[in-house]
């Protein structure tokens, strides 16, 4: 009986390791499959959302297409898996997706569950003003003291977040981004504080109506993520992102950046590699 159990255990171990070995090389698996399975969302502009033609677009989506281009020389060889924010880690852990790019903030806690790639965007909080409004920039807002009202998305930390930049300002919390912007338009707020990326996108959509106050704080890194334990696959995705920001695919990255955030990037300096400066 005991012997049987042992044999069964050994057999299970053997099968287990065989399965493990077969799945250790994600890069080869994806190449053999012929398309990338990528996780992202569908309801957050400019990161991942459906455009007028019902196509999934956004900065995250462009990053995933870059990875597909790196794999198959064809950015359309991607199958997108639509996932909610809290499915990002579980879907990687259970192999439902090969890689996730979904405005995922890098935190040490999450880094214990998944492996993060290098960051492809540095998010932060920014302030948006009406062009030609009462306050010209961040300094003017700061000088305005308690006369200034800032609209912000409802959040437990919202008050502290605004006060970190404008200690005396009044904070008015709203339930959604559009309501927050409406408060600015109607003059109920002097500035809107939210993710720099959302502000950039909104300003790009409505040119000449708003301007950036020119101050950003609360930095956080956005990275793609893969399932832990496959260094080759992680290296591959890292290489794609790295060369998108500094190398052969810079033009694609810059065009995407321009499209979604409305500003032009200057090309990386030629000569000594920027990352070792």
């Amino acid at each position: 009986m005991l012997k049987n159990l042992k044999t069964a255990g050994l057999a299970a171990l053997f099968v287990g390791s065989a399965v493990g070995a077969a799945h250790a090389d994600k890069l080869q698996d994806v190449l053999d499959r012929g398309y990338l399975i990528a996780g992202s969302g569908s309801t957050n502009a400019p990161w991942h959302f459906k455009d007028e033609n019902n196509e999934l677009v956004g900065f995250d989506i462009d990053m995933l297409r870059l990875i597909a281009k790196g794999l198959f020389d064809d950015p359309t060889k991607v199958e997108f898996v639509n996932q909610s924010g809290d499915a990002r880690i579980p879907n990687l852990a259970t192999d439902k997706v090969d890689v996730t790019c979904q405005f995922m903030t890098v935190t040490p806690g999450r880094a214990q569950q998944v492996e993060f790639t290098i960051p492809y965007y540095r998010e932060g909080v920014g302030l948006m003003l009406l062009d030609g409004g009462d306050y010209a920039d961040y300094e003017a807002l700061k000088a305005g003291g308690s006369d200034v009202t800032v609209s912000v998305l409802q959040n437990v930390y919202a008050e502290d977040m605004v006060h970190a930049a404008l200690p005396e300002a009044n904070v008015d919390q709203y339930e959604s981004v559009d309501l927050m912007y409406q408060a600015l338009n109607s003059g109920r707020a002097d500035a809107a504080a939210t993710d720099q990326s959302s502000l950039s996108w909104f300003m790009a959509q409505n040119p000449d109506r708003y301007k950036d106050a020119g101050f950003g704080w609360n930095p956080q890194s956005y990275s793609c993520a893969v399932k832990p334990g496959d260094q080759r696959w992680l290296n591959f995705v890292n290489s794609v992102l790295h060369e998108a920001m500094t190398g052969v695919d810079f033009n694609t990255y810059a065009a995407s950046y321009q499209q979604w955030f409305g500003s032009e990037l200057s090309p990386p300096q030629i000569g000594f590699p920027v990352e070792f400066k």
Partner: protein, 220 residues
């Protein structure tokens, strides 16, 4: 199945789950209280002699009962502010759940009122009570005691519906369970504990309410 059970992560945050459970029960209690008032009004509306009032009550019940509660929750929280009605998360959820409960309770109360013997109202009027006082002192109390079992059932389903408050980040049980699920990825443990907490609470509520029912039931 290759899974090592480890409940430590769930026990570590068990106080959060418990506080979430408490909030859920509280939300259900407040909502059923408000829902009862709405339900009573609408039930009398359904039995009104005036066609317009009957029609309004009927439309309310039909519209709310046939719309998914998730959409009602999102509408109240995200869309009503555009009309100038701004409520906090918890207040917004209570309003939604009360209006939702009201629609179901209208049906319960209407049936309860119809089932009452006619003599009850006549008796009240004969001893000199006004129409309003007859309703308040005789008709409604008797009807409420008759429909207690349906009220209990409604309360239990409202309690279960409080799980949807997680969709607008109200920190109740499901909200914390999702949080623990994502942070620790102890998937089976988290959901097993969370659903057991719901099931046990439903059992306890049902047992308590059955006691209340037998105490308050009209002796026959």
């Amino acid at each position: 199945m290759d899974y090592d059970f480890n409940f430590a992560a769930v026990w570590r945050d068990f106080d959060l789950l418990l506080s979430g459970l408490g909030l859920g029960i509280l939300l259900a209690l407040i909502s059923i209280a408000i829902g009862c008032l709405i339900g009573l009004l609408a039930a009398f509306g359904m039995l009104s002699k005036r066609r317009a009032i009957r029609w309004i009550s009927l439309s309310y019940v039909s519209a709310i009962r046939n719309t998914p509660i998730l959409i009602l929750i999102l509408f109240t929280f995200f869309a009503l502010p555009q009309l100038g009605i701004r409520l906090g998360k918890i207040e917004s959820f209570i309003v939604t759940l009360s209006v939702y409960a009201g629609a179901y309770l209208t049906e319960v109360f209407r049936a309860g009122l119809v089932a009452l013997p006619k003599g009850l109202r006549e008796a009240g009027l004969t001893i000199g009570l006004t129409e309003f006082r007859t309703k308040l002192l005789i008709t409604i109390p008797v009807m409420l005691r008759n429909v207690l079992p349906s009220l209990s059932n409604n309360f239990i389903s409202l309690f279960k519906d409080t799980s949807l408050a997680a969709a607008i980040a109200v920190p109740e049980l499901t909200f914390y369970a999702r949080k623990i699920n994502v942070e620790t990825f102890r998937v089976i443990e988290t959901w097993l504990v969370a659903s057991l907490m719901y099931v046990v609470t439903c059992y306890v509520i049902a047992a308590v309410l059955r006691q209340v029912e037998t105490r308050l039931a009209i002796p026959r």
